[in-house]
Amino acid sequence: MTGFEPQIVAFCCNWCSYAGADLAGVSRFQYPPTARIIRIMCSGRLEPQFVLKAFELGADGVLVAGCHLGECHYISGNERAKERVARTKELLDVLGVDSRRLRLEWISASEGIKFAKTMDEFTKQLIEMGPSPLKGEA
């Protein structure tokens, strides 16, 4: 379908991914304006309910981004984020939402380019997948 612009909610940890997103800006790496970033201190702060809420309200995709494994500012928060995202994906499948709509990435403070690329790829992927089935139901 043409003209479909996915709506992405991105949860970024303060120390790595949010900084990576800033670096993308400082470096002027361009990416589609499809995402809105919500800053959380740690990816381990992610409640599955935040993700579910986002889909319930019509998000087409949710990105969770944290420090690389082993580099979490809070030691192991990203490992828990990984478990929770896996669990939430299962829930999404049950709800009939393709679990690829929830994406987990490790993006460090020096990876501005990776942040921009992730946004690019995820946007393209969601365009291919089309609007979320929950869209318009709320």
């Binding site: 949010y18 990416y31 970033i37 919500i38 201190m41 309200l57 500012h73 809070y74 921009a116």
Partner: protein, 1003 residues
């Protein structure tokens, strides 16, 4: 006798002076900051962007200027000049002449009415003459202090007794034509000189026609042209006809590396700023092609080589190497410029629409005068004379020199040295250190109040406003719930705007504030202090990141960027409505430090800390102190080994330093002011940590290294030369072995200089020797250029190889044979050397990974430690209380290492000198009425901050230790009863953000 007050004078209000003043003030010293101009900021304030991150220069500088303006420990003396000094450290009496501003600083409200009515227009030096200003003026909108001043030479009243308009219109009665110059005597214990440099007068290179041809600009003029807040609002135009150029040539080494103008040295920064200006110009001007004429590309700093590669490959900038342009001729009709130069094949005459001259840095007459006044010795080039092993000291005890005053250098090095000078200067007066206690503005109680939100949407000059429709965002913000005030602001971070914010908070009884501008990671602390001064709790601030994460990344989609900015503001409002005041607990600070690594950097840090009576635990994994410097050859009289043993013996006899040899740190826990360090045999506490873990020499696998004794590294050669002359007659040196290669693209910074030193030594031992250097660029930046000149004078032969092709080394029978293309002569060279010397690069310490995990601090993609900010926080980590110095940060020379190490010591002392630090207020809180004491939170907390204890028989509750909790929020997620709230990032707040983000989406 120690001076009674702990006061230091800093002369020069550029970035180096500013950083030095702030570090001193933060460590409990009174500072007099003396600046000749009406405002501080220096050259950095004039720059558009800074390499290699392309950060907006003003955006990162402004918070520091604001901080100088408001720090009660700093007395800012503008329009002032040091005219005399008496006494010696720690009892200097400095005479400071204060020139009249003719505007009373205490009255001026910087409304600008005076300048509006001033009839006298003069060339604006801040814009390098590209615009005009009035005779009464402020240098730039973010100037500190933001006070008008009258330029007496151009004021009609002061020169001819006519006019007087400004006095008539000034609503604050601030104009005072009677002001006279006064000389004030200031008593200080030590002095730091940071007078900076000026740029080379391009008119002296007559062959380039600067001043005559309108379309020939200097780089600093071009910088002002590129600046969004400059006279052309970032539009690149030709001055002859205001047309947009299709191509621009940049000429390097104008007034540098040039004996004919008396400046044989390299200016260090021009290669990088030319690349930057070319990239930015192309970004600003669709279709523009830029060409840079380099002699050598000196991209020696952290991640500079990547920047260079991107400029060529991604931005398509045309790069000529080994070219000094002979002359420029203007086409009298088109005003285009014919650039004449030699290519390897031919003489070329190429036409360009515009030419930018990369003018070098030269010592300013003011700096020379200052040096004379203070008896500070200068080199023949007019830079302050320092020694390699005391890079910050002048010849006068107690007077220190920093920044480009001692040699041309870039901003990060100037900033690190400026901190370093703070450590040195503080050592004369530390006994009278003042315990800093901020004046607290009583907090307004907002309990029970309905949210009243004020929102400022920042233009950021043009950084935001050129993409995002800011007035539309402001209009939109006004429609949002609880927003009682929404306004556009040009530079929200400027000093004067902080006063505006405070006033608006008072006038409108705001209890919450939103700043939609840049990233909270850099600017939240500034705005938090501002609202704190207005009586609001700092947590009542929310920021919407509409620049770094919006206007800068959606530059080609202004409408969508505007929509996104509206969404981000709506989200900020949603959270703002739910934020609550938080109070942090304060914790005692442990006054000792841990230094990891006993090399040159670590030893310097330890001695600087110990000099101010702080206890240091210095940990070295090897059996003795010294590290890499022991292997380095410095100058004829000084070996690295002698320096290392000298420092080691000073450390050995210093009662403040406890050395741990042959051991490593096992684990580190805790937080700023209160770290716990576990070693094999003991555990101790420290308040700050400095990582100085060094780096390693690359051991090549190529070029028969290790297989043939005639192949060695430069370090090995230096060691060999210490023992006497070589037998070898023909020596081939191969540069960039293991650097600037596909698997390790970084430049190791020091190898070119090391090669020059060894080559000179060989030639001095045996003038008949033949030394050939195979290189891509000779990177003897700054004053190291003298070594290159000397080597060439002694007859060393330089062969420039291709960027992507290393010389080949094969064996013909028993003979070694080097062969390579020579791009200067457009030919091929074969050589049978007796000795092959490999200039091997520096690689990160393999221990870095383990250390980085232990300390939770990041590494850069090259494997070195990554500082908090490459430009302005070169020795800090983003994690508070942990600092960085030496090769662990990036390859550097011994003097650079020592300057930077002193900087790390100074930064650590901003923590160690305090008795108390405020902890984090945004931490977890347990609602005991909901807690069932299940212990999930205790199990999940990575910092053992939560313990579940019985409060009454059979009734357990979780308790948070505020000193240990870091606010990650893991416990809130783990709690199944909703009993834990992680403050400032609560479930309600984050849910509100999600809702606001998607408002209207599904309908």
């Amino acid at each position: 006798m120690a001076s009674e007050t702990a006061a230091v004078m800093v002369v020069g209000g550029g970035i180096a002076g500013v950083q030095c003043a702030l570090d001193l003030a933060e460590s409990g010293f009174k500072v007099y900051l003396v600046e000749r101009k009406p405002a501080i900021g220096g050259v950095m304030a004039q720059l558009d962007k800074t390499f290699p991150t392309n950060d907006c220069s003003m955006c990162i500088l402004s918070p520091k200027l604001v901080e100088v303006g408001r720090n009660p420990m700093i007395t800012l003396m503008t329009l002032s000049e040091v005219v005399g000094v008496e006494g010696a450290a720690p009892n200097f009496t400095v005479s400071v002449k204060k020139y009249p501003r003719y505007v009373r600083e205490d009255r001026c409200v910087s409304c600008g009415k005076c300048a509006e009515k001033c009839p006298s227009k003069v060339s604006n030096e801040f814009d390098r003459g590209l615009s005009q200003r009035k005779a009464i003026y402020v240098s730039y909108p973010q100037a500190v202090p933001l006070k008008y001043s009258i330029d007496a030479n151009n004021c009609l009243f002061l020169t001819k007794g006519r006019c007087g308009n400004c006095k008539k219109v000034c609503p604050a009665d601030a104009i005072d034509y009677e002001m006279k110059e006064v000389v004030e005597k200031v008593h200080v214990g030590s002095i730091v000189l940071a007078p900076g440099v000026e740029t080379f007068n391009a008119k002296l290179k007559r062959e380039y026609g600067y001043g005559e041809y309108k379309n020939v600009l200097t780089a600093l003029e071009f910088e002002r042209m590129l600046s969004a807040s400059g006279p052309y609002e970032g539009h690149v135009v030709r001055l002859s006809d205001n047309a947009t150029p299709k191509n621009i040539a940049f000429l390097q080494c104008v007034g540098s590396r040039d004996k004919t103008v008396g400046n044989p040295y390299c200016s260090s920064v021009c290669c990088m700023y030319a690349l930057k200006e070319a990239i930015i110009a192309q970004e600003h001007t669709p279709g523009l092609k830029t060409t840079i004429f380099f002699m050598d590309i000196r991209a020696v700093g952290k991640e500079f080589e990547d920047y260079r590669a991107r400029a060529e490959k991604e931005h398509g900038i045309t790069i000529h190497r080994n070219v000094r342009v002979a002359s420029i001729q203007e086409n009298p009709e088109s005003k285009n410029l014919n650039v004449l130069y030699m290519s390897p094949q031919d003489v070329v005459n190429e036409e360009f629409d515009m030419v930018v001259l990369s003018t070098g840095l030269v010592a300013s007459p003011e700096a020379r005068e200052l040096a004379k006044t203070l008896g500070v010795e200068l080199t023949s080039y007019g830079f302050a004379k320092t020694s390699i092993y005391s890079p910050l000291s002048s010849n006068v005890p107690g007077i220190y020199v920093v920044g480009a005053f001692s040699a041309p250098k870039d901003i990060p090095q100037s900033v690190a040295e400026a901190s370093g000078a703070a450590a040195k200067a503080g050592s004369h007066v530390y006994k009278n250190r003042i315990k800093v206690k901020a004046e607290e503005v009583p907090e307004i109680d907002i309990t029970g109040q309905e949210p009243k939100i004020g929102a400022f949407i920042c233009d950021c000059g043009n950084n935001i406003a050129s993409i995002v429709d800011v007035p539309a965002v402001v209009e939109y913000a006004r429609t949002l719930p609880n927003v009682v005030l929404a306004e556009e602001s040009k530079y929200t971070c400027s000093a004067d705007f902080q006063a505006v914010i405070k006033q608006k908070i008072k006038e409108n009884h705001l209890n919450r504030l939103i700043i939609a501008s840049c990233t909270p990671r850099t600017h939240e602390p500034l705005f938090q202090s501002t609202i704190k001064e207005a009586g609001l709790n700092p947590f009542m601030l929310e920021m919407a990141n509409i620049r770094d994460q919006c206007s800068w990344v959606h530059m080609h989609e202004p409408e969508k960027a505007t929509e996104k900015a509206k969404d981000l503001v709506r989200m900020a409002v949603a959270k703002s409505r739910l934020v609550e005041p938080l109070k942090a607990a304060s914790f005692p600070v442990n006054h000792s430090a841990l230094v990891i690594g006993g090399g040159l950097a670590g030893m310097t840090v330890a001695l600087d800390l110990a000099a101010q009576d702080f206890h240091v635990d210095l940990v070295e994994k090897e059996a003795e102190l010294g590290g890499n410097v022991r292997k380095v050859y410095i100058e004829d009289e000084v070996t690295g080994a002698s320096v290392a043993s000298d420092l080691a013996s000073k450390i050995g006899s210093n009662p403040n330093i406890n050395v741990h040899l042959g051991t490593k740190v096992k684990n580190i826990t805790g937080f700023v002011g209160n770290f716990t360090v576990e070693m094999e045999k003991q555990t101790f506490k420290v308040g700050a940590i400095v990582v100085a873990s060094g780096a390693v020499e690359y051991k090549p696998k190529e070029y028969f290294y290790g297989q043939d004794p005639r192949v060695m590294t430069q370090l090995e050669l230096a060691h060999r030369l210490d023992k006497g002359p070589l037998d070898a007659k023909v020596v081939a040196m191969i540069q960039c072995v293991g650097s600037r290669s596909p698997d390790n693209p970084m430049c190791s910074r020091v190898c070119c200089t090391a090669a020059m030193k060894n080559a000179i030594k060989i030639m001095k031992h045996n003038p008949q020797a033949l030394v050939y250097v195979f290189y891509k660029d000779i990177r003897t930046y700054g004053l190291k250029e003298d070594l290159y000149t000397e080597a060439a004078r002694l007859g060393v032969v330089f062969i420039r190889t291709r960027e992507e092709e290393m010389p080949e080394l094969i064996k013909e029978g028993d003979k070694l044979l080097v062969s390579s293309d020579d791009i200067t002569l457009d030919g091929h060279v074969h050589l049978k050397p007796d000795l092959v010397v490999l200039s091997t690069g520096i690689r990160p310490n393999p221990d870095n990974e383990e250390l980085s995990k232990m300390l939770k601090v990041p590494l850069s993609k090259d494997g070195f430690f990554l500082e908090a900010h490459m430009k302005l926080r070169p020795v800090d980590f983003a994690t508070e209380g942990i600092f960085l110095a030496g090769l662990a940060h990036w390859p550097k020379t011994a003097d650079e290492t020592m300057g930077q190490a002193s900087g790390a010591a100074a930064r650590a002392m901003t923590i160690l000198s305090r008795d108390f630090l405020e902890g984090n207020a945004a931490i977890s809180f347990v609602d005991e009425s909901k807690c069932r004491g299940c212990g999930r939170c205790e199990a999940i907390c990575p910092f053992t901050a939560i313990t579940v204890t019985e409060v009454s028989p059979g009734n357990a509750k979780a308790k948070v230790n505020p000193a240990l909790c870091k606010g990650c929020g893991a416990c809130e997620v783990a709690c199944c009863n909703g009993a834990i709230t992680c403050k400032h990032f609560t479930n309600d707040q984050i849910t509100a953000l999600v809702e606001a983000c998607l408002e209207g989406v599904s309908k």
